[in-house]
Amino acid sequence: MTQNKKTKSTFTLDGKIIPFIEGQTIIQAAMAAGEYIPHLCFNPEFKPHGSCKICTVNANGRQTASCTQQAQTDIVVESNTKQINDERRALLQMLFVEGNHFCPSCEKSGDCQLQATAYEMNMMSPHFDHFFPDRPLDSSHAEYLLDFNRCILCSLCARASSDVDGKNVFSLAGRGVKTHLIVNAKSGKLADTNFSGDDKAAHVCPVGVIIKKRVGFAIPIGQRNFDEHPISASPHPNVKDA
């Protein structure tokens, strides 16, 4: 990053003054200043994607995804307002009904960003009718299980695999509501890819799709990251400087 550049420029986020370096997006500057904007497909270690839209803010009167919108001098950004949080809750509800999310029995419960963000946004019910999609598991791999039921199509695993691991294990396929995650194998099975537990892609899923086998519930539910503190206090506990 351009650390030698002076950070003279600022904008306001819910009335607070946020400094930024040229090239930073709104959410990047906000996070650097210790401010939380709810998000799912954004991860500070990766290039912003802008698909989940949970990080939508109002910038100078225009609604925009704060993960992809460049910060600009003196813009007025509103994030923690009733209207925007209502919209975020509706988007979270959409993600819940689109997939099959069984929090009480999910290995990621308490470490899941979708669940924690839903708590943060006071989501009390899924509100919409469930789609109940048919999404078979892939348990072919010796060490890892893929539970597509929980996929929110954030593409972080795909980005990690291509940008960091240089492997392209994961991709999005299909279109519209039929969009789904696939793996890079003729059989369609993870065991037939060059996926490894050492891959970055194995550790970026914000929900519970990529699950390590045989270590389930090592930390009891109730003592996990987002059980200890709300996601707004530390959205990425495993990412340094985040």
Partner: protein
């Protein structure tokens, strides 16, 4: 891994060579592979993976994005009925049922002998001569019961498509009103010869003087777009013609490319002269595959006339050529950044903007993307000058607009008017009677009711990409909106949450009302969803997905009110309907097999 002697290499090799093994041509390669084999075989992907050095998941990701590409066998004859509301009004649903019965196949499935599949597809751009079908991606129009029977016979006899009666493939231009563009009698090279007497700056100035605005609907100043692109630095500049005419009810580009293609290509060449491009693309929607050979022949002719290629018309430094890329069934690729992604051989997902294509378009180089009709107008401006053009139309909307008129009228087809024409005038000219509503610019546009027919086609009042669908008093405007909402659900790219999930929720809610389960609660839900999609969607598709519902609620409230049967909320779930599969399996449909409450659910 895989050996070179893959059984699919025989037909794939010539395709790969033609595309110089360029991974950016992946979509073209896949399309041609399917044309040869009927679908994209998994071993064909093995070979492409090897030859193009692309991950298989990416190839599959791209192929599965486009609705006209298949990764599984889909029958020797793949029949798709256009399912725009205008096709419905002309009775396509009965024809589908009839054809399914005759061929013993269920809609949406492949026949057990692998011979044929029958399904619906989004508007194929033949609304003036529907009901329309695509057979192996080739258009056949004016379907009737007799024609269905004739087709079924040919399919059963396994007659190759190339031996089918030519009259089946006849497509009319249906031009009913001509103005400066359609009447121009354009001579290829005439505008270019005029333009090349002047510098690029002077030509740009002429385009700016003309006040020409983009004909795709958004109405951005063409001169400004070219100026930004010309000023942007890059290794290459590109000209792209957006011929992905997917907006239901629009078919003007089809006619322009059939009968006025020289004007389109000449406009692109003038643009290349201004912005300094060496390469151009025409991105043609897959549904217009039948135009490909014709267009390539015209390109070849233009090369022979020194209107394309190196040293155009003797100007040693002016080198420019055009390549045609086909889409494969994705409305979203009409959005310019999604179109560019598709040109690069990727999934047609709209990009994050800025940067805009004028600075970072095809291969991240400065790119102008303009509509087919815009380039035609450029040719006229090249020939007659900007001032001449600016004089036509209105103050803020110069020139003419071609409308694609369809629906309830005597003479559907193309009508060209100077900007400023009233809706009433168009209705009178096309022979529409007892008109209840007109959908301007397709599902993403505006629905105008009879008390608004004095409104005008201009960028300030009724901006349009061209669609003009007429509905008379016998039509149910709720069903019109429901058809459009289903269209958006089918065409959502799936990238962003609100559009991907919201378009499904919206169409489920409209279905719920249609099935007699509506209450005022659902009404409020639809309105809430509208607002959410408008404020959080990634691109125009999500923003406009609710327009048809919002407009018809505001203007045709009784069509909704009669569906709000219940005062209190009731669930969409219908137990009797849920049992329909069991009834089908047991072959029972007597009263005893139904629950007491009987809905007209379907």
């Amino acid at each position: 891994m895989l050996s070179q002697n893959n059984s699919h290499s025989k037909y794939l090799d010539p395709i790969l060579i033609r595309h110089q093994h360029n991974p950016h041509n992946l979509l073209q390669i896949l399309r041609e592979a399917q044309e040869h084999y009927g679908y994209i075989h998994s071993e064909a992907i093995d070979y492409l993976e090897l030859q193009l050095q692309l991950p298989r998941s990416m190839v599959e990701g791209v192929a599965s994005f486009y609705s006209l590409l298949y990764l599984q066998p889909h029958g020797e004859y793949r029949i798709l009925f256009s399912d725009n509301i205008t096709d419905r009004m002309l009775g396509n649903m009965d024809l589908i049922e009839n054809m399914c019965e005759q061929l013993w196949v269920e809609a949406g499935k492949v026949s057990e002998d692998g011979l044929v599949s029958i399904n619906t597809t989004s508007c194929t751009g033949m609304c003036d001569q529907g009901p329309a079908v695509l057979i192996n991606n080739i258009a056949i129009n004016r379907m009737t019961k007799d024609r269905v029977s004739a087709l079924c016979e040919l399919v059963r006899e396994r007659v190759p498509l190339s031996e089918w009666p030519l009259e089946f493939f006849a497509i009319e231009d249906n031009i009913h009103k001509k103005d400066i563009l359609l009447n121009s009698n354009f001579k290829s090279g005439s505008a270019l010869a005029e333009v090349l007497l002047h510098s690029a700056e002077e030509t740009l100035q002429e385009v700016k003087t003309s006040k020409l605005r983009g004909r795709g609907g958004a109405g951005f100043s063409t001169g400004s777009k070219w100026e930004f692109c010309r000023a942007a630095s890059g290794e290459q500049h590109y000209v792209v013609c957006n011929a992905d005419e997917g907006e239901p009810g629009t078919f003007k580009d089809r006619v322009l490319l059939s009968s006025y293609a020289d004007m389109v290509f000449e406009g692109m060449t003038i643009c290349a002269h201004v912005i300094g491009a060496k390469k151009g693309f025409l991105y043609l929607r897959g549904e217009y595959r039948y135009l490909l050979d014709h267009l390539n022949a015209i390109l070849q002719q233009r090369r022979q006339q020194s209107l394309l290629g190196n040293g155009i018309l003797g100007h040693a430094t002016f080198n420019f050529d055009i390549e045609i890329h086909l889409g494969a069934g994705a409305y979203i690729c009409g959005e310019e950044s999604a179109l560019i992604e598709s040109l690069e051989g990727k999934r047609g997902t709209p990009r994050n903007r800025p940067p805009f294509p004028v600075t970072s378009g095809y291969l991240n180089q400065p790119t102008v993307v303009n509509n087919v009709e815009t380039f035609c107008a450029v040719s006229l401006i090249g020939l007659h000058g900007g001032a001449w053009y600016e004089n036509i139309g209105t103050e803020t909307s110069s020139g003419t607009k071609i409308l694609s008129v369809s629906g309830d009228c005597m003479r559907p087809g193309l009508y060209e008017y100077p900007f400023g024409v009233t809706v009433a005038q168009v209705l009178a000219d096309c022979g529409a009677q007892n008109t209840q509503a007109v959908q301007i610019s397709g599902p993403s546009g505006i629905c105008v009711a009879s008390n608004e027919f004095d409104r005008r086609i201009t960028f300030d009042d009724l901006p349009t990409a061209g669609a003009f669908m007429v509905f008379d008093e016998s039509r149910d405007m709720f069903e019109v909106a429901r058809n459009f909402v289903h269209f958006f659900k089918h065409e959502s790219c799936g990238f962003c949450t609100p559009c991907r999930v919201g378009t499904s929720l919206l169409s489920n809610m409209m279905d719920k009302l249609a099935h007699g389960h509506g209450s005022p609660y659902d009404f409020a839900e639809i309105e809430k969803l509208n607002e959410l999609l408008l404020s959080t969607s990634h691109c125009g598709l999500g923003h406009s997905a609710c327009n048809p519902v919002l407009d018809t609620i505001a203007k045709f409230r009784p069509a909704y009110d009669k569906r709000l049967i219940h005062k209190e909320y009731i669930p969409a779930f219908d137990l009797d309907y849920a049992l329909s599969q069991a009834r089908q399996m047991t072959g029972r449909d007597d009263t005893g097999a139904h629950l007491e409450r009987n809905h007209d659910a379907k």
